[in-house]
């Protein structure tokens, strides 16, 4: 729980710093919000890494080939990054750019998910009675 308090406190401090600097220097406010976002991301990533270790053990036990799970991790990473950039774009005011980043992320995720879909279809075809 203390990590949550840390994240909340950093977010509040960044917002206040942004407000203080905004009238004086508007472009620095964007820098401060970006840096605050990065710091919070680093905290969440430290928690995400042990989730991934647990997932790795599960995949080893399940025995299904690990290339599919690498794609799943990559998709999570892509979602992570596109969400980060899209919110920065919305912060600076040009939300259309943020939507384009989201669209690009979705398309890349779709392209990466294709092998998973094909492998699922193969598994289903094997199950069907000939």
């Amino acid at each position: 729980m203390d990590a949550l308090y840390k994240i909340i406190s950093i977010a509040i401090i960044t917002c206040i710093a942004c407000l203080i600097v905004k009238p004086v220097r508007t472009d620095f406010a964007i820098f401060i919000s970006i840096v605050g976002g990065i710091i919070i991301l680093f905290y969440t990533m430290s928690y995400l890494s042990n989730v991934f270790d647990i997932f790795n053990n599960i995949f080893k036990i399940s025995g299904i080939n690990s290339s599919l799970y690498a794609v799943i991790f990559k998709i999570i990473g892509i979602g992570y990054l596109t969400e980060f950039t899209a919110s920065i774009c919305n912060d600076t005011g040009n939300s259309s750019l943020g939507d384009k980043v989201l669209l690009g992320g979705k398309i890349i995720i779709l392209v990466m998910a294709l092998p998973i879909i094909t492998s699922i279809l193969e598994i289903v075809m094997e199950l069907l009675p000939k």
Partner: protein, 71 residues
Amino acid sequence: MDVEIIFKIAGIGILTAVIGQILKNSGKDDISTLATLAGVVIVLFMVIGMISELFTTIKSMFNFASVLPFI
């Protein structure tokens, strides 16, 4: 890697604004634009350094290393 980076950037921002104002009032307008520009460039380098650090951590964690043909 904590709150002090936020305060550092805020401090640089306020400092550049103050220095710009002082230089502008004392008649040296071109130097004040240079000073504000220098402040922005310094903060930009700090932010870009943090973003590259973020990308390397994400790449190492989500094992992006196995580069797909087109990504």
